[in-house]
């Protein structure tokens, strides 16, 4: 079970909330301070991409962000409900300005060593993880 799970309707205004929550949980479980910016950015990219997929497919739905403390790794899963990724269709259709989707993936793969882009139950699923550097100090 995820340590913290967040679900939000696929709207751009909620992406910031997901970033803030992910960074707060990452800090709480002991992810090194120096990579919190990367966590924040990568989660934002994955959520922005999910929102974009929903907007382009015209499918309303929910984006799920699961934040899981695996003791030695901190796992983040971002899952959308925008349907399967249809590469051929996407290539034929109207691209967003300057290929924002591709830029988003470039940022994620450039930032995160352990990243996997896959199909989830009802859409895409991005899995990313970071090492947990130290045991958090209990308040």
């Amino acid at each position: 079970m995820a340590t913290v799970e967040l679900r939000f309707s696929a709207l751009p205004g909620h992406v910031r909330t997901a970033r803030l929550v992910a960074a707060a949980v990452a800090r709480r479980v002991g992810v090194d301070e120096s990579v919190l910016d990367e966590v924040r950015l990568a989660v934002g990219e994955a959520c922005s991409r999910a929102v974009g997929l929903h907007q382009r497919s015209g499918v309303e739905g929910t984006i799920r962000v699961a934040l899981t403390d695996l003791e030695k790794r901190f796992l983040i899963e971002v899952e959308d409900e925008a349907g399967p990724i249809l590469t051929a269709e996407r290539d034929a259709g109207a691209e967003p300005e300057a290929g924002e989707d591709d830029l988003g993936l470039a940022v994620i793969t450039g930032l995160v060593e352990d990243v996997e882009v896959d199909n989830g139950a009802e859409g895409g699923l991005v899995k990313m993880s970071w090492p947990i550097a130290n045991v958090p100090v209990e308040a």
Partner: protein, 113 residues
Amino acid sequence: MDLSLSTRTVGDRTVVEVGGEIDVYTAPKLREQLVELVNDGSYHLVVDMEGVDFLDSTGLGVLVGGLKRVRAHEGSLRLVCNQERILKIFRITGLTKVFPIHTSVEEAVSATD
């Protein structure tokens, strides 16, 4: 934090000072501003990003879009940025080769190719 935008003219350059967070929610506002400037005939833009706290690929896409627009009028789009965490995003996407990035507004407004 929301996005703040202000523009001023320095010689033949238009400086767009951006503050706050540029993400999927706020980037359309920046896109509108750049489109409006180009439509009004400002083809030499300097985007000052020193006040930017967060930038994602949506923001990068808007800047690339702005660059394409000014280039269509033989213009230029220069960036001012000293923040490592923002510069890193330009580096990993290869966009440091696309945008001239300066350390100060003064340097950017006086730069010529």
